[in-house]
């Protein structure tokens, strides 16, 4: 009936749902998964192999020349080098800049999200498990954090520690952990009332085994959905920070910084400086979201099987 029929919902399909992670070869779902996998592979491969794929080292300042700036796609500069995707306002080859920028974006957003997730999980689970004063304290810190603007966090970090990708990672983590903590706490609070936890407690299992072996896996589904959303948000956040001049160094641009730099030329019809990195960013986020969804589905399936 539907592409995801086997994992479909009760209301839609009328049959009890089961785990729907594995698509049969030949089904449309398989094709879709395959496309995503290929795009993901290409992006990841491009990011990893950037130094070998890129025609130019965009980090080599001496190779940037203003007379090669803002060349349209498929034009050759005076030295005869072909710029497949054009060049940016500093004379950077766009293809090279995008390959390296993808690395920066993925690295910064990934690390930031992972850090935020780790802190958020610990805080959220801790709050739900211990309850009482600790929970109140953690949730008040969460409130505080959520009302503290990322921009100010980023500014403080830059002022205190200097500019750099690591500061952006910290800024992302600092601004996002609270979301994870809140979600984990509310999910965990609900889960803690379920029978299997009571059963686990009844077995007198040590707390860490209940936390990690039982509670954590059952809190993962919403967390994974949120984490993929947050990873996408982190990429956007990094771009916005770069837009405001608080992001990565201009000599080592991320996709977001490339878009921000190119945005001012869009009105003049010089679309390539922001369009190409924008599309790569878009593809990256689509892939991340999709992967996250599959993952969430797998985890949810695992729960329903239990």
């Amino acid at each position: 009936m539907s592409r995801y029929g086997r994992s479909g919902t009760l209301v839609a399909s009328g049959t009890p749902g089961r785990s729907g992670t594995g698509h049969r070869a030949g089904s449309p779902g398989y094709a879709s998964g395959l496309t995503i996998a290929i795009v993901a592979g290409v992006l990841l491969g491009a990011a990893i192999a950037a130094p070998w794929l890129a025609p130019q080292d965009p980090y080599d300042l001496a190779s940037l020349r203003l007379d090669h700036a803002r060349l349209a796609p498929l034009t050759r500069d005076e030295d005869g080098t072909l710029h497949l995707l054009g060049s940016d306002d500093q004379g950077r080859d766009m293809l090279s800049a995008i390959l390296y920028g993808l690395r920066v974006s993925l690295g910064v957003a990934g690390a930031g999200t992972a850090l935020a997730l780790a802190v958020g999980l610990a805080a959220g689970l801790g709050a739900a498990w211990r309850g009482g004063r600790l929970e109140a304290l953690i949730m008040r810190v969460v409130d505080l954090q959520l009302s503290f603007p990322t921009i100010l966090v980023a500014l403080m970090l830059i002022a205190a520690l200097g500019q750099g990708p690591d500061k952006v990672i910290i800024a992302i983590a600092v601004s996002q952990w609270a979301y994870h903590a809140r979600t984990v706490r509310s999910t965990a609070a609900t889960e803690l009332r379920r029978d299997y936890i009571a059963a686990a407690r009844g077995l007198a299992l040590p707390a860490w085994r209940i936390l990690i072996g039982h509670l954590l896996p059952n809190c993962l589904a919403p967390v994974v959905v949120l984490a993929t959303a947050q990873m996408a948000a982190a990429i956007s956040l990094e771009a916005t920070l770069s837009f405001l001049g608080l992001g990565v160094p201009v000599t080592r641009p991320s996709l977001g910084l490339l878009i921000a730099n190119g945005a001012q030329y869009v009105f003049a019809g010089q679309y390539w400086m922001s369009l190409w990195p924008g599309l790569v960013l878009l593809a990256t986020i689509v892939v991340i979201q999709h992967t996250g969804e599959q993952f969430g589905r797998a985890v949810a399936g695992g729960v329903s099987r239990r």
Binding site: P28, A31, S32, T35, I36, V39, D60, L61, A62, L64, R65, L66, D67, A69, R70, D89, Q90, G91, L155, I158, A159, G162, Q163, L244, G245, L246, P249, V250, T251, N261, A263, Q264, Y265, V266, F267, A268, G269, Q270, Y271, L275, G278, L279, L282, A283, V286, Q289, H290
Partner: protein
């Protein structure tokens, strides 16, 4: 882009059914296709001319500003948007014309009557917006208020005034503690309020009760952050504005300001990005005005030799190394390629036409080969490590310019670490001397004032060299400046300032980049004389003489 913009909407609507037929693709990918189409459409759109901006009836003028006036109190916050707004409501004893030269304002003439005393003759028949006459007592009240206002930022313009004497209602004598030839220029910054409002708070100005001046406009409404509405002062002493009402709206983002003009929300905008100027020049519906502004961008090179190093090992202490760095910069390329022509390669610390500008100083030549040779001669054949720092939200294109300069330095073998920071982080760190090469932009109406702040030997007690991030020190420059401030004869004074300027530039005390351009764009039916001081003054916007 060859897509006909008129079909834009059609393309957008088509994209979903077309892509929906693609089998086996995820919705996300399909939407990507749609987005590409949408973006391409938008690009076609951007090329299209807007249809709006037809000729409007004269009564109302709407201007899009780049930055927001924060208060109507003319003595409180010394930032350009506030001063520009204040010029609509208030006047000063002296004014600055479009070419940055001093002209009479509320004072019809002035002269030095001793080494430390000046006499100002005030205009007769001038009235404040409330009908009361303008007299010397109002000047005294204004100067005193500027000096005393808690948190006021205009005190520095009157700090050298030691006494005020009213001879008659239209004659005022002002004494300074030391000979100070720049006094008439400083008084251009002191807006004259009615003495009745001498004790008024900033809030009273913002509410409009005290915002009463002698200027060409009366206040109608001030809404912080949103804009200002003004109406013509029919009793204005000079040529009255050609508009019945004036609306000043704030669009701080370049893009939205431009869009506001193209969309017909405003008739004139200030501070137009270079790329858009090029585009607007080819558009019959709009005209642009452009002039070299009073702001010069340059790098201070910290000449202080680190404690543990020998002088010969610290490159920036050597004038020929600074010369080499200056020679490595292709100023023409920066202006043409990065700023789309919105700049003028600089040889001086102040813009052409500004008091003290030395026309005979040549713009530094671009010669990377000779720069390399100079470095080798100076003992750095393999280059050296250098931190180059710039703000990224202060001057037009600041961070991009710094990056291009870093690339040019890299090509003569200097290994650059580039730091670009928001100005609130940048300025304090630069003032603490944390960067070897630091970008600064400086606007001045007078070369002696600029030199004193930027390159005079540091002397905090006397307010000299406060922004001398180079720690440059030249006895000759200091002496020339000292003499110039005591010289009342304008021609002799300017000759001294030029000599000081030449000496400092010969020493490569700073590495000059370019003077920025001030630009305005407006509908074809208007005209505006581009001003060096970058102010957008509604009363100077006129109907274009003849629509082409």
């Amino acid at each position: 882009m060859t897509i006909d913009p008129r079909q834009g909407a059609g393309v957008r609507m088509m994209c979903s059914p077309t892509s929906a037929r693609l089998p086996g693709r995820s919705a996300g990918l399909r939407l990507m296709v749609g987005l590409v189409l949408a973006v391409l459409t938008a690009l076609g759109v951007a090329d299209a001319e807007a249809d709006s901006a037809a000729t409007r009836p004269a009564p109302a003028l709407r201007i899009g500003l780049a930055a927001e006036p924060t208060t109507l109190d003319p003595h409180a916050v010394n930032i350009a948007p506030n001063n520009a707004l204040a010029w609509h409501l208030f006047e000063a004893l002296t004014h600055i014309d479009a070419r940055a030269r001093l002209i009479p304002g509320l004072a019809e003439s002035w002269q030095a009557i001793g080494a430390t005393e000046w006499e100002f003759r005030l205009r007769h028949g001038v009235r404040f917006h409330d009908g009361s006459p303008f007299e010397a007592i109002d000047v005294v009240a204004s100067i005193e208020r500027a000096r005393r206002l808690p948190n006021g930022q205009f005190g520095s313009f009157v700090q050298r005034i030691s006494a005020l004497r009213i001879i008659d209602p239209h004659t005022l004598r002002i004494s300074t503690s030391t000979p100070y030839a720049a006094l008439p220029l400083d008084l251009d910054s002191i807006f004259i309020i009615s003495h009745r409002n001498a004790m008024a708070s900033s809030d009273a100005f913002d509410r409009g009760e005290a915002a009463i001046g002698t200027g060409p406009w009366r206040l109608r409404r001030f809404s912080r952050g949103e804009g200002v509405e003004l109406e013509r002062n029919d009793d204005y002493r000079g040529e009255p504005p050609q508009w019945q009402t004036l609306e000043l709206k704030v669009y701080s983002a370049e893009r939205s300001r431009m869009a506001a003009l193209l969309g017909g929300d405003v008739d004139l905008i200030e501070s137009v990005p270079g790329a858009d100027l090029v585009r607007l020049r080819g558009n019959a519906r709009y005209s642009v005005a452009q002039a070299v502004s009073w702001r010069t961008l340059f790098f201070h090179a910290d000449e202080r030799v680190p404690e543990k190093a020998a002088a010969k090992d610290y490159p920036l202490a050597n004038p020929s190394v600074r010369q080499a760095l200056s020679m490595a910069i292709d100023r023409r390329a920066i202006v043409d390629r990065l700023l789309d022509g919105a700049g003028l390669p600089a040889s001086n610390l102040v813009s052409p036409g500004v008091f003290g500008h030395d026309d005979t100083l040549p713009t530094p030549v671009f010669d990377p080969a000779r720069a390399r040779a100079l470095l080798a001669q100076a003992g750095f054949p393999a280059g050296f490590d250098l931190t180059v720092a710039a703000p990224n939200n202060r001057y037009p294109g600041d961070a991009r310019i710094a990056q291009a300069v870093a690339a040019m330095f890299a090509r003569i073998g200097v290994r650059v670490r580039l730091v670009t920071l928001p100005v609130n982080v940048y300025l304090p760190r630069a003032r603490r001397g944390e960067f070897a090469l630091a970008l600064l932009g400086w606007g001045s109406f007078s070369g002696d004032l600029a030199l004193r702040s930027l390159l005079a030997t540091r002397d905090p007690a006397r307010g000299n060299g406060g922004w001398n991030w180079s720690y440059y020190s030249s006895a000759k420059v200091d002496r020339l400046l000292e003499t110039a401030f005591g010289e009342i004869d304008l021609a002799r004074r300017e000759a001294m300032v030029r000599a000081a300027m030449r000496q400092a530039m010969d020493d490569v005390a700073v590495i000059p980049l370019h003077h920025t351009m001030a630009s305005w764009a407006m509908t074809r039916s208007l005209s505006y004389e581009a001003r060096t001081d970058e102010f957008t003054l509604g009363h100077h916007v006129r109907h274009a003489a003849l629509p082409r």
